[in-house]
Every structure is written in C-alpha cells, then in structure tokens.
Symmetry: C2
Subunit: 656 residues, 2 copies
C-alpha cells in the first residue's frame, strides 16, 4: 500500500516542479506542510472531489495563500476534475486555474481567495459562524461540518488575526481548527528577528484549545486532529515543520520561501526523498490512493442528499443554503415601505431610515444576519426581536463583533462564501479604512456583503476630524466591484437596501448620516429610482442655467439652493446620485440626459472632489471639502467649510 510518505512527497514534487516550470512561486510552504495536508485530506477532511459545491462539506482554507501549490496539488491528486496536470504545468500563467494565489470562483475547491496575510484565518471564522448558525437553525442533519485552516507565522503576525482569534474564542467556535505551520522562518530570515511571542499562550488567552505536534509525524498529527474534533473550543494545532522539507541544502531556510529551488536542488531533493520520478510524474499507485481519498466523502454526500430529500422543507433549505433572496417579495416589501414613508415624509437621519428599513427586511428574510463593531445603537443595525449570536444561542441573528472592524468584514466574507447567510454589519464610515483589506478581497471574490457605514461626513459634528470621513467615499468608489450607496432620505435608503440585497456578486456600502435630514422623494413612484444610480430628483420649470448634483445629506442643500435661485428667477435642476457606480453603468444617453448635456454642473458632497471630475469636468464647480474636518456642532461645520445653499447659489450666479 502507498505510504504516507509517498502521498506527501507527491505534493512536494508537484509543488517544486510547478514552481520551477513557472520560474516563480513558493515551494517551501507546500513542502513543509505536505505531511499535515496529507493527514488532513486522507483522514479527516469531509469532501467529495466530484462535487466541490456539496454544501455540507468541510471548508478548507489555505490562509497562507502563497503556498498555493499545496492546494492545487491536493485538488489534482484527490480528483477535482478541473485541476488537470496541464493546469499544474501552467502554474501562474494567464488564464490557468493555477493562479499565483488561490482565487475563489476561479477554481473549484478553493473556498476563499487568500494571499494577503491574515485574511484566510479571519474569513474562516465567518465560515464557522455561518455553520454554527445554520446547524442551530436548520438542524445538524443538513448542516454539520468543520472549518480547517492552514495558517502561517505571517497570518498570525497580522493584526486581523487577533480580531479573528479573540472573536472565535469568544464565540466558542469549536468546529474551527487551525493548523499552524510553525516553521520558525519568515521572509526576512529566522522568525526570531521579528517575533518571539508565545503563540500557544496567546491562543489560550483567547479561549482556544491548543496543542503542539511534530508536523512531519503522521501519527502525532492524526492524534492531534482526532482530539481537535472533540474540543468544545476552537483549536490551534502548532505543527512544528521544516520549510522546504526534503531539500538537502535549503530546507529550513527562507530561501525556499518565495523562489524556485533550481533544477540542481530539485534533483538533490529527488535523491534525498527517494523520488525517482520525472517532473510532474506521480506513479499510478500513488495517484489511485489519493483519488480514493478524494472519494472518501462520496457516501457521506449521498447520505446527506438522502437526508435532505427526506425533509419536508427540502426546497426551502436548498434555497436558504444558496442564500437566495426572493427578488419579487423584496421589491414588494421595499415598495410598500417606501410608500409608507412617502405618506409620512419624516425627517430622519439616514442611519435611522436604514434601521427602519431593516425593521421590515430582517423579519422577512431569515438569511439576513446583522451586526456591528460595538456601535449598535449608533449604526441602527439591530432591529426589534434580534438577539445576540453566541455560544448560548447560535440561532440568533445579531453579532456583537466588538471593536473588530477588520475581523468583522473578513467574517462577513466568510459567511457570504459559506452560503446560507447574507451578512450586513455596521461601523462608522471613517473606519472603513480599518476593514478595507477585507472589503477589497470581497470585491475581488464577488461576494454579497453589506457594510452599513454611518456618521458619513463632517455632519457627525463634535467628534472631529479623526471621525469625519472626507476621502473615504472616494477611496471606496475607487475599488472595482464595490457599490457605494449614499441615499438622501428614507425612500432612497430603502431602495438602496433592495439594490444591495440583490447584488449577489458585489459588496455594497451604505453611507449614512448621523444628522437628521428632510424628506425628499415626494413623487410616490413605486419604481426604484436609485437603481439608475442618479436621476433628476427635482427638475426646474424655469430655463435651466445649471445642474446641481448631490448625494446623501447634501441633497438637502441642493434643494434649498434650487428654491432660492428660483426666487431670483434662476432655474437649476437637482440630480440625486445615490450610487455613482450604478450611474456609470447606464447608457451615455441616459447619463447625458440626467446631467443636462452641456449645462454647467455643480456637485455638492461633504467630501473631497477626487473622482468627481468624471461627472462635472475639470471646470465644473465642486462644493465640498478640501482637507480634513474639525470638531464642532455640525451646522457650524457646514457653514465653516462653506458647504451651504448660499455657496451653491453664489456659484451658480457666478456662472457666465
């Protein structure tokens, strides 16, 4: 029978050979962790290589994404159809499944995109959260799996790992098992040049169970993983390994980390590991043993299907696990809600309008899971009847993430990727900077996460410039595949929620005010006007001299300016632009029509101009911020920074 050693060496040599062929990549990590991965994939991981999307599979996250050849080798060896030998040979070439770092959506079997350190382990926390929630909600006959992570020293040095670890420990996510590649090497050399902490004690302090094993001893690894399955806490297994294991001259050094070993050293490694096969050749017997491991889960998969089919609510469960949102029901709900708001025309902060929309959405859609980074009362994300998600109640739908914005956003990615949950959560807009790497990764992966980001300008007032976003909207709009919504009133808020919920391959940001705003959308139209990104909120009956374009809280200023100018016989239209990304996706004709062709343009947004020239041109007028804010009552700040109806009127009057 094929030995563990043979199985692990297959990973090692495929990794070495592929990196060598690409003349680029990271062989050291797959070589070092081959034994760990072999034990995991042949004895523990619940998966069915022929059905990568089986919902009750264990999730495997290679947090140390630079070791991508580890997962590509595993996918190939265990029989994922798409991962052919040719794909391995095309490692890191354009169009190959075998991208430099594993990319979700690009290759079956990759559960999340990794590479930016710390993201994988933190995303995995969200997966484990979703699993616990769905198990509690739908039953362990249909949801009952583990989340396994391979993490590196780099993952554990990143700050986000602290947020993830402490959150997981707090939530007692005992289905989460982290296999730490404890190789004592980092890019700058010995890990000890930069890190001398005690990781086991650290995890212990965060409420984890920990153990330490020889990462090259399959028996010890099996025992540690078996024990982990019995834990009532999340588990860290420190796997003491040698990076580049098997390489006679380079093992245990940083030189194996990020470069090919070179043909000579690979040859020496073949000798040392007694692997007489040519590059990319794995003997049939070894492949068959691996393939058998890949079909280990087929029976469990079939049993699961049978259990699901036996459930009276099978269809609903499938829809739920697919995170399906009934578009028709949603549209009706939003139209009704918007209609009710239009009948009352309340003055509300848009954060309050968002809370009001959620009061109708959360009860209607079980798939929604809310939360906040310790700002629940400020961001209006918790609605009546929601209770705290945690070890005492995994079926609850509100997560107190703590002051962990980055960990929160990564966990949201993980929930969305896991499926069965559509996560939304809030913090202040300015703290989007804290969660940005996870948001970027979500955009790259195309996941539906909804970030409720409030206190979105100097309008937050006295907290001052540390808390006042000025560049944040621009910085978010610059990210590909993110929708930034900045609605102006309760109707637009509800419309934007609808659009965010239906955007199932795009993260959304809702930028919302702290301060109260007057009601604007009095047309009573049941059509979602925000869907086009920008529209004429208020045309003028006078001849138009200019177009005022505003978002969110500054729509009020544009409307006031329009009224004043009309008193002087000057006509301007007001365009509300709740989502510039959606507006950019409209036809040039529609854009031109809304923006009034050659009419001079005045944009008003309590933020920097950066990015606005696309819509108003370099000679357009921008009323906004030119630098950081200040501390003071918000009305005084708007005056101080000249973001007023008076300033808009003066700008229009000054136009030739």
């Amino acid at each position: 029978m094929t030995s563990h050693h043979d199985l692990a060496n297959a990973i090692r040599f495929l990794s070495m050979d592929a990196v060598q062929a690409a003349n680029s990549g990271h062989p050291g990590m797959p070589m070092g962790m081959a034994d760990v991965a072999t034990v995991l994939f042949t004895k523990f991981l619940k998966f069915d290589a022929k059905a990568p999307n089986w919902h009750d599979r264990d999730r495997f996250v290679l947090s140390a994404g630079h070791g991508s050849m580890l997962i590509y080798s595993l996918l190939h060896l265990t029989g994922y159809e798409a991962m052919t030998l040719d794909q391995l040979k095309a490692f890191r070439q354009i169009g190959a499944l075998t991208a430099g770092h594993p990319e979700y959506g690009h290759v079956p079997g990759v559960e999340t995109t990794t590479g930016p350190l710390g993201q994988g382990i933190s995303t995995a926390v969200g997966m484990a959260m979703a699993e616990a929630h769905l198990r509690a909600t739908l039953g362990s006959d249909v949801v009952d799996h583990h989340t396994w992570v391979i993490a590196s020293d780099g993952d554990l040095m990143e700050g986000i790992s602290h947020e993830a670890i402490s959150l997981a420990g707090h939530l007692k996510l005992n289905r989460l098992i982290v296999l730490w590649d404890d190789n004592e090497i980092s890019i700058d050399g010995a890990l000890s040049v930069a890190e001398t902490g005690d990781q086991l004690k650290r995890f212990d302090a965060a409420g984890w169970a920990t153990s330490k094993v020889d990462g090259h001893d399959p028996v010890a690894l099996e025992a540690a993983m078996s024990a982990a399955l019995q834990s009532d806490k999340p588990v860290l297994i420190a796997c003491r390994t040698q990076i580049g294991y098997g390489s006679p001259n380079l093992a245990g050094t940083a030189k194996t980390h990020g470069s090919p070993l070179g043909a000579t050293e690979i040859e020496a490694t073949r000798q040392a590991l007694n692997w007489p096969h040519a590059p990319f050749v794995v003997p049939d017997e070894i492949v068959s043993t691996w393939r058998a491991a890949g079909s280990r889960g087929a029976a469990a998969h079939a049993d699961w299907k049978a259990r699901l089919a036996a459930r009276a609510d099978a269809e609903a469960i499938e829809a739920r696990l697919a995170s399906r949102v009934d578009a028709k029901a949603l549209r009706q709900l939003v139209a009704d809600h918007a209609g009710a708001m239009a009948a009352k025309t309340p003055s509300m902060a848009t954060r309050e309008s968002s809370g009001a929309a959620l009061e109708t959405l959360v009860p209607a859609f079980d798939v929604l899971m809310g939360g906040s980074a310790d700002l629940t009362g400020s961001v209006n994300t918790k609605v009546s009847g929601m209770s705290a998600y945690g070890a005492k109640d995994y079926a609850a739908r509100y997560v107190h993430y703590g002051v962990r914005e980055h960990g929160m956003a990564a966990a949201m990615n993980g929930m969305a990727l896991h499926g069965g949950v559509v996560p939304y959560a809030g913090t202040f807009l300015v703290f989007a900077d804290y969660l940005r790497p996870a948001l970027r990764l979500g955009a790259l992966m195309g996941v539906r996460t909804i970030h409720v980001l409030t206190h979105d300008s100097i309008g937050l007032g006295e907290d001052g410039p540390t808390h006042q976003p000025v560049e944040t909207l621009a910085s978010l709009r610059a990210i590909p595949n993110v929708q930034v919504f900045r609605p102006c009133d309760p109707v637009e808020v509800a419309e934007c929620w609808e659009l965010a919920l239906l955007a199932d391959t795009t993260p959304s940001v809702l930028s919302l005010t702290r301060q109260k705003l007057p009601f604007q959308r009095r047309d009573g139209s049941p059509v979602n006007r925000s869907a086009q990104g920008a529209y004429v909120l208020s045309p003028s009956s006078l001849a138009e001299k200019a177009v005022l374009i505003a978002t969110g809280s500054e729509v009020e200023i544009a409307m006031a300016a329009q009224a004043r100018l009309a008193e002087s016989g000057i006509g301007v239209r007001v365009v509300s632009a709740p989502c510039l990304e959606l507006f950019a996706a409209q036809s040039a004709d529609y854009q031109d029509e809304v923006l009034g062709g050659n009419l001079p343009k005045v944009a008003i947004e309590a933020a920097v101009r950066f990015g606005w020239d696309r819509w108003i041109g370099p000679k357009g007028t921008f009323i906004g911020m030119t630098g950081f804010g200040a501390s003071g009552p918000y009305q005084a700040l708007y005056s101080h920074f000249g973001i007023t109806a008076e300033a808009v009127c003066a700008a229009v009057q000054a136009l030739d």
Copy 2:
C-alpha cells in the same frame, strides 16, 4: 493638604461639566480613570507644564482619545498656559483647543492625535522605539524618559494592538507602560457581549510584564507604577475601574460612555462625591496642588538643559532631536547621485533605484531609520552596513517590523512625533490598505513618514490580483496631505526621496516597481524636476497632436509610443507626472503649459482611471486598468490588459 480624592474629583467634575456644556462628549472614561491619571501626573510623569516641548519629557498618550476631557483637564490643572478654563468651557466648539478628540499640533501637551482606537498604543510603541534608539545613540544624559499610555478595552480589541504589543514585547521596550482602563464596559454594554479573553495572559504571551490593581486605589496604583519603572519588559497595568465613577445612578454602565450625564445626575454626583462647587469651579487650594504637580519637572528640565549645554556636540544633538535634515547637503547629495545615474543610464526597477538612493542617503543622515514589514529583500530598504534594531542593539537603524504593516505605520508616526528619527519603511503597495488608518492619522497630524511601497501594479506579475494594486494609487491620492510619488527612473527616484525628506509636515508614499525599467532622464539637469510634480520629459519636434501623461513604469510605454508615432509623422509630447499632488500645487499657467492647453490628452497608468479626469477631462483617453488584475508574467499581463505602446498609438491615431 489636598487629598488625592480632591485632585481626582477636579478632573471628574471638569470633565462632566465640559461635556454637559457641549451637550456632547464622553464623561465616563475621565471619571473612571481620574484616579489613575492623578497618580501618574502627580507622582510619576516627567514633564514641565511650562515647557510642553522639552524633548526629554515623558510621553503621555491617551489612546482612548474619546476621553479627551481627561487630558484637557490635566493640562488645565497642571498649568499648560494655553489650556485656560475658557478652553474647557468651549469643549468641542469650532476653533477651541478642546476638540472632540485630542489633536496633535492643535494643543500643546497632546503628543499624538487619538480617537481611532488602537492607534494611540501603537503610536506609543514608536515613541518608545525612538527613545531607546536615541538613548543608545546620544546617551542617557540627554535622552532618558518613559512613554505612558492609557488604553481602553476598545484599543485592545483592535487588531493593530496585537501588532503593537507583539512588536513592543519582541523589542523589550521596557520604558513603555500601558495603563489599561479595565472597566468591563463597551458601547454595546457589558464587555462580555463581545470579549471574554484574558488580557493579562495575552500580554504575557507577547513578552510583557503584567499586573492588576484597583484603579481607584491610589496606594496600589503608586506601587504598581513604581514596580513598572523597574521592569525589563514593557508593562501592562490592568487598572480595574468603574466607568463614570461617582455617578450614583449611572456609574458602571455604558450610558456614561458617550453622552452627557445630564444636569440632574451631575448634581447627584456632586452630592455623592462631596464636591459642593459650581460647574467649572475648582477651589484654589486644589488648583495650587495640581499646579505644583505641573512644575515638578522644572528642576529636572533645568538639569537636562545644563547637561545638554555641557556637551560639546550640543548643537548637533539639538538639531538631531528636532529631526532636522540639512536641505543643502541633501540637495547636493541627490544631485550628485542623480548625475552619476544619468552618466550610467542603468535599467533598474525603481525599487532598486530607491535602494541605490538609500545607499547614499542613509550613511549621510543619521536621523534616518529604516525598516520593512518582513519584505526587506523585496523592497530594498536595508542598505549596506545597517543592522537589526532590537534589545541587543538599540543604536542600530534597521527595524524588522515583521508582518505588521499597520503597527509599523503607527510606530513610524510615533517615531516622527517623538523626534530625532525620520522613519522610512517598506511593504508592497497593495498592502497600503493594511496600514491606511495610521497613514491617515499621520496625514492629519502632519508628520514626516516615508512609506516605500513597491510591486506597484500588475507589473509584479505572477502573484496575481491579490497582490496587484489597481485602486491603491487613487485611494492614497484621495487622502489630504499625503504625497504620492511614482517616479519612472533612478533620477526621479532620487528626486522624490529628496522631496519626501524635505516634506516635514507631510507623509510621503514612494510607489515603486518590481520590474526593471529603462532609464529616462537624460537631460543631465541638476534641477529637481519632480518638484513640480509633472513636467515635459520629452517634447516633440513635430506638430503636436496630443499629450501623453504617464507615471512610473508607464513612462516607458509613453516614450515608446512617442517614438512610434514620430515614425508616422505624428507628434506627441510625453509628460512624466511623478507626483500629482505637487503638480496640483503649481500655478494654473504652469499646469496648462505642461499639459499643452487644449491638446487632447492620453494618460497612461497601470491602475484605475478614478481621479485622472481632473487632468485629462471626462473626454480624455485613459490607458490603464478597469478592474482587478490577473496572475501571469508581467509582460503578458500588460498585453492582456492593453496597456501597451500600440494601444497608446491607436488611441492617438483615433483622435479627430
């Protein structure tokens, strides 16, 4: 004699009264930590209220910046002249020193801007690093102080705190003492809704000494702080406190955190704490005792001045502590280096050019302190002769920050604020997202930090879209008071280094390539042409049909296109734009001259268009990225995404 209790209550009531007057703010924290702060400021902190900028003062960092009334009260009571009672009464009003969160540069005695959680404690690590370095370098007769931090639960939940704590523990920064406001309350209620970890064990794991005291017991606090001064490790003192201490009905609850207590409850607190004085009234005797504390350090300050004056190198030390860079010497050095490069016209990656520039700059300027987030060999920040900064050698000038981008950037802020050090350090450009909150804070404070951010586009090749910035340049350019440099060759690189080193109130980013680039600046001019942000690198002798504007690696493409177009008799000029912020600061005439007036414009940058319309107009042509990148050899990626001289030529030829 005035009791400790009276002294602490003065802080409590000034804080309550100011928050009440502003009808905005955070009374709970100053009330809870008043005892801790009183012991610190009256018995330990080395400072001279009449000389806030005395260089050898202890640094005090209020990491929990929302408790700003704590520090404002202390500054007032101890006699910082600027902090009058009227300033306290104007808390959170425009123009007052007493901004919502303490702002560096806005008020003497505030060592760093805080409010965004986790930043203060992490900035303090940099201050302690600078202190240790300067003590080792200049001698403990002139540098010999501590860094004290008050940190909240929120600070410790943020991921950045992990990076800061583990770095400080690793570096054995025993002059760093953190007083943790262990009040078991967060905004969402009991801390236990989100956090149940063991902080003392966590710090212990990171190499800190820890202790736990009753935060309302001045004797215990004094003993703990005395012990901390003897530690050979950084010290965490868990101060068990009650938030809103003294308020009979609200103490110990989240209600005291972020809102005024209300007149009735303040009155009840006066009764409970036996403080019969009117709002903002502190009896003279208490004020005098506080003022005496504020002048405790005057003698030490005088002694220090005498010791400094006695040094033969006093003038050099003063210049050093002021982080002065000799502009004339720098300009000469850069001109010589650029001249030498122009004589050799080497093809180099700009990261290599940066390393070459540093080889001349680092030996010439002792004030420079380099480092990298575990990418030393990739970002070329370590030059010959530099050795590793750490407990074995604090005089060394190279910091192995580990994979701690955020902690690194905050530490750089702290070093710059401390003075005596000009920090530069590197990671990949895409990971600017990880350090962004600290960079923003640096921009707000106006500190000179230099971020060497390499691998700055799809030009990094095979690592793929997780590592390829596309929106990063735009997102950095959107931040006020950040200079983003993207030089094209060794001459521009050296020029940009000069500009960054001379920008003493602005953080700079150097965006540098992984891939080799041809040499461009053959004019041999000793003038720093990058200083104007953009300039005509290559005019055309033909009639000009268009202007090509490029940055960094895409200047090569523009130059190639110019040559090809010339073959077809089409003239275009090439503008190199290494710093759009500096270009924006030039006169409209200069801008117009460089950009060729009404000539059509084609911008080329391997990044998104966002922000470029300012320079090329909405109808200008942009050759760049429209979404995320891909994994593959970089030349193939440039072709794949159509960022080529051919594409530029086609665009110019298509112009009417």
